[in-house]
């Protein structure tokens, strides 16, 4: 039974870490882009959104190319005796890459909803930009940011293709839920696969339910 929980624990670790990574980078990127002129934004944004439209195998190939043993970043990490390939950090990276667009998009929408009036008002009162961000913008934008975080978590926990390419299938070390499910189905261990699938199903429903609660549509509150 303990063995059954290993992929669950690994998946939670991977998704929590990748979600934290993505909340910070996605929010930061969306906030920075908000200030940029439309023309510049329209050039940079497609690159931010790319992981959403590319097949996971392309992302996996990209990660292997960059972070593999001979990749430029892989070699740099090798100098300090670290490696992303065939490790749980590879899985975190893959999950973060695929969920970044969701966080970015949500954060962008959340910041757009914050009326400039509040920011201008705070500014005329002599508030520092840092304080404006943390005590004016963030509190107003939080439902959108939380929604982005939840979506990223749900997307990250489901990452399979790129994860298998960079992190591999090492039982007990890199077999996150989707990978464990794939191999359980392949080897005919349906009972195991069924349990894990049910767990992901419950998680998915919970995430979407919570999303609807924190970001109600018109007239739903």
């Amino acid at each position: 039974m303990a063995e059954w929980w290993t992929p669950v624990g690994l998946s939670l670790r991977v998704s929590v870490l990748s979600t934290l990574l993505v909340i910070i980078t996605g929010t930061w990127a969306a906030f920075r882009m908000k200030k940029k002129a439309w023309k510049k934004r329209s050039w940079v944004e497609p690159f931010f959104m790319l992981p959403m439209v590319l097949p996971p195998t392309v992302l996996g190939f990209g990660l292997v190319y960059l972070f593999g043993r001979n990749g430029p970043l892989g070699q740099m990490l090798g100098l300090v005796d670290m490696h992303i390939y065939f490790s749980l950090s590879g899985a975190v990276l893959a999950s973060a890459v695929v969920s970044f667009p969701l966080m970015y998009q949500s954060a962008k929408a959340a910041f757009q909803k914050v009326e400039d009036g509040y920011i201008h008002a705070a500014r005329t009162l002599g508030t520092s930009e840092k304080k404006i961000f943390f005590s004016v913008i963030l509190p107003l934008a939080w439902p959108g940011l939380a929604a982005g975080g939840l979506l990223s978590f749900a997307r990250g926990i489901g990452e399979f293709g790129a994860t298998l390419m960079i992190a591999g299938y090492i039982p007990g070390k890199t077999d996150t839920l989707p990978i464990a499910i794939y191999f359980a189905v392949e080897t005919g261990e349906w009972a195991k696969a069924f349990g894990w699938t049910s767990l992901l199903l419950i998680l998915g429903v919970t995430v979407i339910y919570t999303l609807n609660r924190i970001t109600p549509g018109e007239g739903e509150r």
Binding site: R69, Y85, G168, K173, F183, T187
Partner: protein
């Protein structure tokens, strides 16, 4: 022409898919096809063979693969998943037969198919791997043959009640013309001894 894993194709035939000649990478699937009355038992023959080889990404591959696999300094060893992926099933048989237990320091990474295992080694993500000889030969990749891992047979069988054309196709697949084609793909013609090639084609 319709491609898929032998097991997938077997399922499709069971669901009613039509076929004339069935080429199988797994003797078990062919047996099931014959037992199920889908292929004509008298038409079933081995047409090509394959073997397991050790690849390390180095030009000079280990002379003693068994000793190499047992030692401590490997790092990541790529294998086919041992229970279901055909490459892995053959690998497991080989490791069991030779009584090879990899060192605790060796991390085994399992691939979902033979391509993935070979790719892990080719991009140097893994330090070594056990792959099909055909994959190494086709790409002129240096390898050491695993001598007791050489009994891999691919069989063909003609659909029961198929016409003359199907039998002609099956016969052509056994012809020297077809064998030349399979050899280019890295396979060993059924009538030949397994050649002990080392390091990408040199004897």
């Amino acid at each position: 022409m319709h491609y898929g894993s032998s097991t997938q194709l077997l399922h499709q035939v069971k669901q009613g898919a039509q076929f004339d000649v069935f080429l199988s990478a797994s003797p078990y699937d062919m047996e099931e096809m014959t037992d199920g009355g889908y292929t004509d038992a008298s038409s079933v023959r081995t047409f090509i063979k394959n073997d397991l080889v050790l690849v390390t990404g180095d030009k000079e591959t280990p002379e003693q693969p068994e000793a190499y696999l047992k030692q401590k300094g490997i790092g990541f060893l790529a294998l086919g998943e041992l229970n279901r992926v055909p490459l892995g099933v053959y690998t497991k048989k080989y490791l069991d037969r030779e009584g090879i237990k990899t060192a605790a320091e060796t991390t085994r990474v399992y691939g979902k198919d033979a391509f993935q295992v070979f790719r892990y080694v080719r991009v140097k993500q893994a330090d070594a791997g056990i792959v099909y000889g055909s994959d190494a030969r086709r790409t002129s990749y240096p390898y050491t043959p695993l001598e007791s891992g050489s009994d891999i047979r691919y069989q063909l069988g003609v659909s029961r009640g198929a016409g003359v054309a199907a039998h002609d196709t099956a016969d052509w697949l056994m012809s020297s013309e077809a064998m030349e084609m399979f050899r280019e793909g890295g396979f060993i013609p059924a009538g030949e001894e397994n050649v002990v090639w080392r390091n990408g084609g040199r004897r």
